[in-house]
Symmetry: C2
Subunit: 342 residues, 2 copies
């Protein structure tokens, strides 16, 4: 890494259908110099998440879209390199939306969006992009606050081997539920059952979904943690119990669509089975995040939660690596390593 | 009315698409004689409701379907004609699922499903098929328990001139909301605004729905009381505010469909706007019905709630009259008058 320049990936064009590497433009800038009240962060790990696909469009969404020409937005772990702000010292570890770049200048007005990590770190640094990050909060609040699992109930989660899905299933197990994961390969199914303790797992690419769900969920489905949308939601709706709950966390199967995507054909089940379906975005839960981190931290310490991640080396590989979110090839959290940990 | 026979309409075939009169078969039977513990009710008013269309299918549903050859199910107000049960006296007014027939025999095991009306009646008898019935409960609990309206919020209701919709809008006005109704004619729009005090009304048959909603709901939509499904739900989803609530009471636009009906194309709004969507069936609220009847009774007395109904004379006309639920020609509650009030 050349420490005299700031490499960046900026949004060059909005994807039509699948993301292409050419949607990003490579730029080199001078490392910014800071003014009073500002700090400079050296980025270490960059989180790649399905929600990037939403930010890349200019459709109405839950945050402003990334503008064309802007540095691509992304959640980052970094280290304070220089500080002219009395609340931060060089060497402090921080997280925030610091973008696809080597260095981020944090202006005084943005300083509140930065989170200082505990010192010393209670777990490995990347934990703070995974169970002890917005990923963990997403799984925790979506399942517990909206899903409200009761011991003995059946919980189905889609994109089950993803960062969020794998945590959802493990938290549901902790709460005494039967847990069924839907994922994209036999290898992932095996990992869910053998490593994470899921009761059953379905490879949606090879299974006939409705009978597979019926077999894996002999008492019906009480909670479906929705990450994907499309046909999987439709199949799940045929098997839901009375008063089922469906936290809607993501609809990844629809993000790359070029034509309007219909909602579930079995929509009438929402009425007939009195289903509660509720969309949520983790930022709504940020004021309560410490509750999630306390519980998840404890479960990690007790070995009740495992997590996995795929770390791709080099900021230069980010535009290629993000495609892995949509091609079913990765397991767990996808992370770009930009620079070395201190 | 010949008082020596019991005229009945039985389900002869399941509708394919629209209900047809030939789906019902006319039968005459002897008036049943009662045993110890049983009562005989003379049916006076029969309620016709969109949910009949669901009961006529054999798809999975919230109650057992009506079997072929069985007397068609329907909610009825009647008078006890004979009683061998100490809890009921001849002359008592009752309501229950007594079917499309002149007389209903209530067996000892079904006696608990019968509700005795207050004596003397606090309002006209048909009120007990309308605001002071499951209709009122549907509007009351769907809006208040799921929708949770706050003063100043905007409430949109579809099928707004129907029995449930017209009550929903008026209760929302009582709660201090801006109320917009969607209905099927200019005449109905006028009635909603001039008689019931709706702030705006949209004729979906002539309006361009999305701009019409945007104009009628300048502050967006906080609650959408869903009676119809299909294109109206889709248009509403484009205008919902953050944390909007959608009680799903009915999906009448889809009941007669012969092909699978897609869910809303704007389904992703549920995620992006963190929408709560919840199906409900009024029978779930029956244990709390007295709360609804107390409030609605009070509002009726104070003139804060108006209702309308279309009464069709003669049980013989029921199979033809039920078509009015789906052809947009009726306003308010649709009722068949089977026999004279005592």
């Amino acid at each position: 890494m050349n420490t005299t320049i700031n490499r960046q990936w900026r949004l060059a064009s909005r994807p039509v259908g699948d993301i292409e590497e050419s949607n990003f433009e490579y730029r080199e800038e001078a490392i910014p110099s800071i003014q009073d009240g500002e700090i400079l962060v050296r980025n270490i790990y960059l989180s790649l998440d399905p929600t990037h696909r939403i930010w890349m469009t200019d459709k109405p969404q839950y945050m402003p879209p990334v503008e064309l020409g802007e540095v691509m937005r992304g959640s980052v772990l970094g280290v304070v390199e220089e500080s002219k702000n009395s609340n931060f010292q060089p060497g402090d570890m921080v997280s925030g939306l610091l973008g696809w770049q080597d260095y981020a200048l944090i202006s005084t007005q943005n300083i509140r969006s930065l989170t200082k990590l505990p010192n010393p770190l209670p777990a490995s640094l990347t934990t703070f992009l995974n169970p002890l990050s917005f990923i963990g909060c997403t799984a925790y609040f979506g399942l517990l606050d909206i899903g409200k699992p009761q011991a003995g109930e059946t919980v189905v989660v889609s994109a089950a081997s993803g960062a969020v899905g794998s945590l959802v299933g493990q938290i549901a197990k902790i709460k005494g539920c039967r847990v069924v994961g839907i994922t994209s390969s036999d290898k992932k199914c095996q990992w869910l059952q053998e490593e994470l303790g899921f009761d059953a797992a379905i490879n949606y690419k090879t299974a006939d979904l409705i009978p597979a769900l019926a077999e894996s969920c002999p008492d019906g489905i009480d909670i479906y943690f929705e990450n994907v949308g499309g046909k999987i939601l439709d199949a799940v709706l045929t098997q839901v119990n009375l008063n089922a709950r469906i936290p809607v966390c993501g609809l990844i199967s629809t993000y790359n669509a070029q034509e309007p995507v219909p909602g579930p054909y079995n929509f009438s089940q929402i009425l007939l089975k009195r289903v509660l379906m509720q969309g949520f975005i983790v930022i709504d839960y940020m004021p309560q995040r410490d509750v999630a981190f306390r519980d998840i931290g404890q479960w990690l310490k007790e070995g009740k939660i495992k997590y996995t991640q795929e770390i791709v080396e080099g900021l230069e590989n980010a535009p290629k690596a993000i495609l892995k979110l949509f091609d079913s090839t990765k397991m767990g959290k996808l992370i770009i390593k930009i620079s070395e940990e201190p």
